[in-house]
Symmetry: C2
Subunit: 349 residues, 2 copies
């Protein structure tokens, strides 16, 4: 399966399937005079003798968020330079969203920008590898230093997903679910039906592809997030605060954030757009820790949300809410109102 | 004097004159909800009670290259974030080319890009502040990590130049001279006439403006340096190697590089495009240390030039040479040839 982006120029292809990596990548590599592989250490340990046996002399990235520190950024760029990287070389980044963000930022900045290919290896990275956002973390919050740098291709070999720990699958599923919400009610229903008893990989491929298409629609229409790209932050405003506070995998925190979004959307619209009971049962059945929502501290969450880089003012907090499945709007909720929503939500649980 | 860039979109104005900073900048600041000043420490010390008395709570950058380290990058971005920078704020960078590069890179990457204004305070920065290139230094060479990020304006208040040490004036003049060479013989002659006895600020303004116009022509035609922007590297290939080896101010090293460029251009064309004797006398009269050219080691220089990020192959070195005043071409010189040129140049001095 191949999906092509739809920018005015600088388009790229997203290849999605099982067992496609080596064949797909060799075509790209052929066009460059040299290639540098940046590989998540856990992924390399698991696949160096199988899917990644063709990878020569990789630069190993610490697994997960550790690759998104300033020190790791320095290490990655200095190693690329030590190896004599030139502007006509290619960088291939293999790993989850964290490796993709860190490797992508290195590719964006070394020699002021070198071509790169994303090879996502987690379910969540069906989201993070699309759209050209790259970043590292600051002491003041996640993803606060970064760049927009589109890859030359995304090669999403679903075979990698088989070794994903279950909580990482759940995390990635948070974004799959968000993309379904952004699309329409039909997609949400089908997805929930397909996962009625458990969330597993077997049924995931069509939803991954649909998720990629949804994300692509938003990022090609509004690359730099001045308008509708913001809608991709559905569930993320509170999600980020929860992720930060409870050190929970990104997509799991997003799922909690989505639940709050549903609650607030119902309140704002003064009607039941979302049947909260059924969503709560569904989330709890699959192990999303809604109990954390009961324990959150209103003021602490509001402080953390105020630091979110998408929030441009400090007295009100910007939120993406929904009028209906597939219909987002952006709104600012003032502090009193927000505090009330959070308290009510806690009581309702 | 105002010069307007000529991109397809995202244009900005370059304001050049004496005593214009405070008035010009207030118009821009008015459009933003907050402003953060990044100021070179030497410039702040000199002007905090005069030209910069309106600047509140600046973030102080170490003077010169020290502001272009990884550590300084971390310090600048973390301080901006600590101060609560948002996407709708403005950054104003005040200082020489180094502060401009470092502050510009911070502006390019914090929150994935915030608007900024360049306020150059050195003669050299008439060059570095135009064109949107930003960078920090690597252990493997200068400017190897960076981004393209156009300023929203350049406010070049020539009053700052009065405190510039003479060697910094000479350094900046190297780029003024390069821009004259890139323009035409007439401009070079007029410039040399105006500086027959000494290089001083009095006569500089028209040449600064002409230099800015020349640079702008190249950067707007070819922002990302895939073609003619390379011509701005006239004199820089050997210049960078000399700068690195002798820790000489950038533009002084460039002037030495320009002399080598003239030599090699004459050789390549097998005719006297440049009257080397007269240029040598002129450069020496003004204190450009041509004697370093006599002492350079061919192999060392070639190794350093091979590391230049503009050099995409390793057996030959890319150079910009001239067929005539104002007429550049790009060529690769193979190692043997290059070694011969350098040896011959050394003997000729
Ligand atoms: N750029 C964007 O648009 C964007 C969007 C969403 C999220 N993100 C970022 O993505 C990151 C989260 O990504 P993630 O959830 O993929 O986390 P991750 O990259 O941290 O990976 C999670 C863990 O799984 C391991 N892993 C990766 N692939 C594996 C595999 N195939 N088998 C076994 N283990 C594997 C990793 O080593 C890591 O320990 C966050 O840093 C977030 O900020 C970026
Ligand atoms: N981005 C580009 O396109 C580009 C182009 C050329 C050069 N550069 C970069 O520019 C830098 C060189 O710039 P530079 O020559 O301005 O050097 P600089 O910024 O290092 O300044 C030189 C010294 O002069 C001091 N200074 C600055 N303004 C002063 C003033 N008005 N009075 C007294 N002292 C003052 C500084 O503190 C510093 O000590 C290099 O890092 C080079 O890589 C960038």
């Amino acid at each position: 399966m191949e999906i092509r982006t739809d920018y005015a120029d600088g388009n790229y292809t997203i290849h999605v399937d099982y067992g496609i990596l080596e064949a797909s990548i060799s075509e790209y590599i052929a066009a460059y005079s040299s290639v540098h592989f940046l590989v998540d250490q856990n992924v390399y340990a698991l696949y160096k003798d199988s899917l990644l046996s063709f990878v020569q002399h990789p630069i190993i990235l610490e697994g997960g968020e550790a690759s998104k520190s300033f020190d790791a950024f320095k290490h990655i760029t200095e190693t690329l330079l030590e190896r004599g990287i030139k502007r006509n070389h290619l960088i291939v980044v293999i790993g989850g969203g964290a490796a993709g963000d860190a490797g992508g930022f290195a590719a964006a900045t070394v020699l002021r920008g070198v071509d790169y290919i994303q090879v996502p290896t987690t379910l969540l990275a069906h989201d993070s590898s699309i759209g050209g956002k790259t970043a590292i973390n600051s002491g003041h919050g996640k993803n606060l230093i970064g760049a927009f740098h589109r890859p030359k291709a995304v090669i999403y070999d679903l075979s990698f997903l088989e070794t994903l720990p279950h909580h990482e699958l759940l995390s990635g599923f948070g974004e799959v679910f968000k993309h379904a919400l952004l699309k329409d009610e039909e997609t949400v229903r089908t997805l929930m039906d397909a996962t009625r008893t458990k969330i597993s990989l077997d049924m995931m491929k069509p939803f991954i592809i649909s998720g990629i298409e949804t994300k692509m629609h938003y990022v090609t229409t509004d690359e730099k997030e001045s308008g509708i790209r913001k809608f991709l932050n559905l569930g993320h405003t509170l999600g980020h605060a929860i992720e930060y506070k409870y050190r929970m995998p990104h997509g799991m925190a997003v799922m909690l954030g989505l639940y709050f979004m549903m609650y607030a959307s119902n309140e704002k619209a003064a009607r039941n757009i979302f049947d909260l009971d059924s969503f709560r049962q569904y989330f709890e059945l699959h192990g999303y820790p809604l109990e954390h929502l009961k324990a959150i501290d209103e003021v602490e969450m509001m402080t953390l949300m105020g630091k979110d880089k998408k929030n441009q003012s400090s007295d009100a907090t910007g939120f993406v809410l929904m009028n209906d499945f597939g219909q987002c709007y952006f709104t600012e909720i003032d502090s009193n109102q927000l505090k009330k929503y959070i308290s009510q939500l806690k009581e309702s649980l």
